[in-house]
Symmetry: D3
Subunit: 311 residues, 6 copies
């Protein structure tokens, strides 16, 4: 069994792979073929199935796990697989963790870190609200991705991004002691939990109907209000947390109904943006040679970044 | 006792007036004076109090009701009052309805019309949610203004605007029977109830802290979600109503976190906009002579509109 | 003879079809092929002609009517036809109405409705101008489409859209009696007649040189001025009608040299926009399953709309 | 009798002046005063009339000519006049040319130059249309300003600007012989004649109702179409001239319903813009010391320009 | 001798003050007066000099130091001084540090910190360039403000801001070890040194002619290029430093000719922005009561920020 | 040996061609093929190499000169070549001028014209700076293109464009004698010399790393500052020239860190823009039939221009 990141040009491979997308095409000779996107935990590759048989339509469907034999070739600077044969596997018989990319840190380490941050919140109202909501969404919160593409789009990406933001907040607070630390950490932990409703799941995430119609921002806002009411909290903390969630995209044109109006809401937006950009740059630089420019980076205004030479 | 809309140039007046705003100035000779904005149910006028005495600072404060003697003069095409003397009245001893402008239709007629619309909603989920929320906010809903300025900024303005929108919806539906009437009417009735939390009250309305930090859109969204959950509704109706409230400003840059994605949400935005514009134009035309242009109308892109000649 | 909307997967068909577009391609084997867009009054379909013969270049040209034999297959969720053979027909020998989509209402019903609206205008100046111009452009006005794509892009689409707008205006006037009904109806009837000069014809409409260089707005503006001068009208009605035509795109960036400055001009723009959006949504929803989103709707800011579930 | 450009600080003056604007104010002591804007052919000055008498309201009105005695003082870097007394003159008894600023070239020289340009157009269709329209609007064309403020806002400013543009066109053509000279010169001569309808007159120009509702662009477009039709011209010249007039503001957001789509239309827009900017800069530099920056120049994006040192 | 921050309402004061601005006015009675802006190291206050004498024009000029006797009064929520008399002092006889606000940290502490950062740069090319340029501009670099208004607009504000940014960078690097620390610190130290040419000096800073015409970004870019050439550096470090200076405003519309294209350039922009915002918020919050909103903060999109309640 | 502009449909050709670009593709049958872009001094053509051999990867590389045999066919309104065989030539054995398009004027004529302009600058500071920098960059300045695409993208395009701009400036000066001629001509000669660093060379120009990171504007700005310092010039001329270079893109969003603040800087921007547009239009019109519209012209806002009929 080979992993995708071990495939090389002109190699015959035998592998178990997750199908993430399928499109149908017709050749110049009017013959049908399939373009199948495969994934395992080490990467992704596109395959072509020429000479399509009836049973291929069954085998190659998004979410299926297939045992594939194929020939790998280099095409336009990327590897591609010519599929020779494939056999549909029973999902229950395979280890799902083989097929999904994960955060660069083990999940139980992330969970312990989360627990530590939860314990570190001294303000009783912040603590009660955050603990309640994290508990309620726990199962999804620890496995969901942070986005469908661009950054942290892998299993536990949401938790990894959230904790990186908390780490960054702790560093920045050292320079600006006037920041309300508990409020900022609480806002960070809560701000994107709504994505567990907005997206369909940790594997091949798509937007749900509710996600498109309401958005993760409004969903979480309602949840904070509900929990604060159930907990009987009468301070302004729930309002401040709701405000942080509502404003964390920074501008109305990015989907926030209100713009940040407290120091902590402003910082939440900046920290979210900064951590995402650092991760996006890492990914782009990893695929770039020193002394050259990256390909266009869509979420960085489609700019191409220069990778400096290490001396 | 004179009404403001009866004041004329070069007249001494004696009137009971509500103070809505006060600013302090200093003359070229370094003497203090006050500019006081007054209001009664027939209109507004600015007054100048020269030669300020210590007790004047007590008398002239926003929200106070004052019995004033003054001289009315014409200044830059507007009437202005030179305040001669003023006496602070006990608010409890005067009839508050003397001092606030009201909707052009009697409140009990509006309430009956509202009841009729509530009864007209056949869809059981729409009906349950709308009746519950209208009942909950009833006392404020029937007296609040729709805005702090520009249009429907008077007592019961919110209800008057809401019902005008419902009337307009009924007319438009005749042309497009594919519209879901119950959903549209429900969305119209609910869409701005959040203003009863966003604004401070029917008289001299200001934005509340919660209003600025969360906005009436998010406040009402949370309420629909809460009520639907309490009522145990499992259909997609709550999501569709939430979506209508969230998207009713039409664009993200106008404060909607999502843009309209159903026919009824799109119509809610158009109907809201159209009714507001008609009322704004009425007000501007009322102050304009035939064959001339209005002053700049701020919410209509600061354009000046032409008042055609009646033949 | 089959109609396009009766074609199904894996079917051999024999049909008379209008060619609306032709592009040439080259296969991976360097062989030429044609992609031919066909249309009849029930719909459109794309065909592929492999193995191109010299005479095919003659047969398949935009505007030609061809008797085709072909095999229909499903390709990427759309039907496509593999052309087996085709024979060019003499346009004069076929019934043109077979090949063009029409308004959903019979033309003579539309014409009667138009006559009724013309008779309903009481203001003598409005009436004289509108009747004169409708008469002058009558033959084209009753068959032209309202646009080259997106909405009302079929035979008599211009008239159908114009009358729908008039109907909508009549409904809205009920809520706002201050509207000058005759002026609004006159503006609606005239506003897009310039399209009969801007576009090339009812079938496969294209922009004319004059259409691109002057635009239907300026063309109609000049016509109203000319007719009013010929009729010796001295009231401000011609100016008000010209203003409505000039401003009916609502904003300068959409091609109106002036923005609406009367209530009726503002309404003309809103009614035009609203009716177009309703029709565009109908089309998009018709191709969408309940509980799903439409494809991106270009003229609605490329948003995808949700089709709610009917219970 | 003194001219405004001869007034100096601390001087008593006696002069005949045109009133262009009047506003009323109230002092800190609650006394009325008037701010009167005066003009003669050499410049403008603001005056203050303290201690207002009833007859002053009659004397000081826009358009009146007044014989004034006053004291000139320096106030905030500008001269201002304290009005001592004023006597209303009978307009018919004074020479109007005393009170209006004029183009820097004598009008009859401009008229001769215009005649020469008219004779220089060889293309018969261009020539016929331009001569017809110039003749028709001649009396206004030779005295109107080009704008109500910013540049060429004086008597015959429209003609002066038009001829400067023609001169500039002749120079640029030398570099680009592919330009159609007759078309370009014709477009320049016609492009702003609509201003003679859009504006109220050569003195204290204001926008007319027709000017605001239709704009000089659409007015002239209709005129070219009418004249071409009357002259029986069938070439594409009328369309090309209409296009140049319609597109000469360059962009839709500046009021052109279509953007320039021919070389000559593009040049007309550039030449118009360039000549206006040169004149605006001249005016700003004239009021600025070497080595300093001008005040903010509104039509040049509110930038302040540097006046270089002459060595 | 009183300090400005000790002045209170209804107090006669005697103080040595720096004049920062003077404007002339005329009262309703046509009498001249002066509005004089004063400053000492503890704050600013505006004064009015009524009844202007000839010698007052000499005494009250920007940059002069004046010994003033005056009466302080409260006017529109701010203190104002009625100037009774003033005596011009010889600038050389007074201690300049009395009259200028300073960074909240002593200058010699800042200088030591700067020295430490300079020593911490291990990369030889970075080190050589930064040390050379800091040395060259040292005298100005340690006393200039960072801006003429909004933030760090006091003596040594430029150095204080620069060092705060370096501190923040050190914190952020802990989270992202892939950052090139030497490059980032070098860019931070250099990025705004051009302001010592762009602005006129530490006291009452204004833009110089060169500052307006070239800008501090281009000035510093040229200096890095010159120094690198003089030092004979051939690595890509000079280009990377130039790029950081050129791009540090983040977007072209903010004056950067190129946008950030390296990780360190991107961070420089974010850190600059973040530190400025924190300082701007501090200032606004300091003038605001808990539970209220600040006044509009211009550099934060004119938003008003909420000051949360401390429990 | 055939030239590209002599190729015609259905012709076998034999030619020496420069390869400017190569991309790899895979056919429907999974066979590799190459798309090769060729150029000679008369034009460009794309070729397809089916049935790729190992040595083809060597032969067809950007910058190579290849002797090709192929069959020319018409494909989608453009000629295309099916490559039959190709032989790599030794670059040193062929005349490079065969393969690059050149300015429409001979280079030595351009050089003489440049010399004449250099001699015409009377101002000693302008003259010294311009002569020094032109001399320093002479070899590249006389052969570089002005851009990588759109206009003047051929050998000596930079010089040709520069001299056309100088010619245009001389014409415009006649109308506005207040222009400082020497400053304007100097700015024109210098403004784009930085492109000789920003671009890689006269043939197949690409952006260099330095070009992307700094841009030709900042590069030239630094050079003027350096040269002026070396020449010991103390007048404001160097600052004025730097300002012209920095601001010549007209707006910050087009890459100018400052906007034009002198008459000459403003004119430099306008003249640059005007000459580019005239050349772009020439090219588009040359490929268009009279009475038709050009294809979309990207640098002219993607508009299509109308080519008028010559009578």
């Amino acid at each position: 069994m080979a992993w995708i990141n071990e495939f090389s040009d002109n190699q015959r491979v035998f592998a178990q792979l997750l199908v993430t997308n399928v499109t149908r095409g017709v050749t110049g000779n009017n013959l049908a073929y399939l373009t199948v996107s495969f994934q395992d935990k080490t990467g992704t590759i596109d395959g072509k199935k020429w000479d399509v048989q009836v049973e291929d339509n069954e085998t190659y469907q998004p979410g299926h796990i297939v045992e594939v034999t194929g020939d790998v070739i280099m095409y336009r600077n990327s590897l591609q697989m010519k599929i020779i044969s494939g056999r549909l596997l029973d999902s229950s018989s395979v280890d799902a963790s083989r097929f999904t990319m994960s955060a660069p840190v083990e999940r139980d380490i992330l969970e312990k870190k989360l627990a530590k941050y939860l314990d570190s919140i001294a303000d009783p109202d912040c603590s009660a609200i955050v603990k309640n909501l994290v508990a309620q969404y726990y199962d999804r919160f620890v496995v969901y991705p942070a986005a469908v593409r661009n950054h942290h789009e892998y299993t536990s990406g949401l938790l990894f991004h959230t904790l990186s933001m908390a780490d960054l907040a702790e560093q920045i607070i050292v320079c600006y002691p006037q920041i309300n630390r508990d409020l900022l950490i609480s806002g960070i932990l809560l701000h994107d939990i709504g994505k567990t409703v907005e997206l369909s799941g940790p594997i091949i995430p798509k937007y749900t109907v509710e996600g498109k119609m309401l958005g993760h921002i409004s969903i979480m806002d309602s949840e904070i209000r509900r929990v604060a009411s159930e907990l009987g909290i009468t301070s302004e903390i729930p309002m401040l947390l709701e405000h942080m969630v509502l404003s964390h995209h920074g501008k109305q044109e990015f989907g926030s109904p209100v713009e940040p109006l407290t120091r902590e809401a402003l910082l939440l937006n900046i920290i979210d943006d900064l951590d995402a950009k650092m991760v996006i740059l890492d990914k782009a630089y990893a695929a770039t040679v020193e002394g050259e420019f990256t390909t266009k980076i869509f979420p960085l205004d489609e700019r191409t970044f220069y990778k400096m030479k290490s001396k």
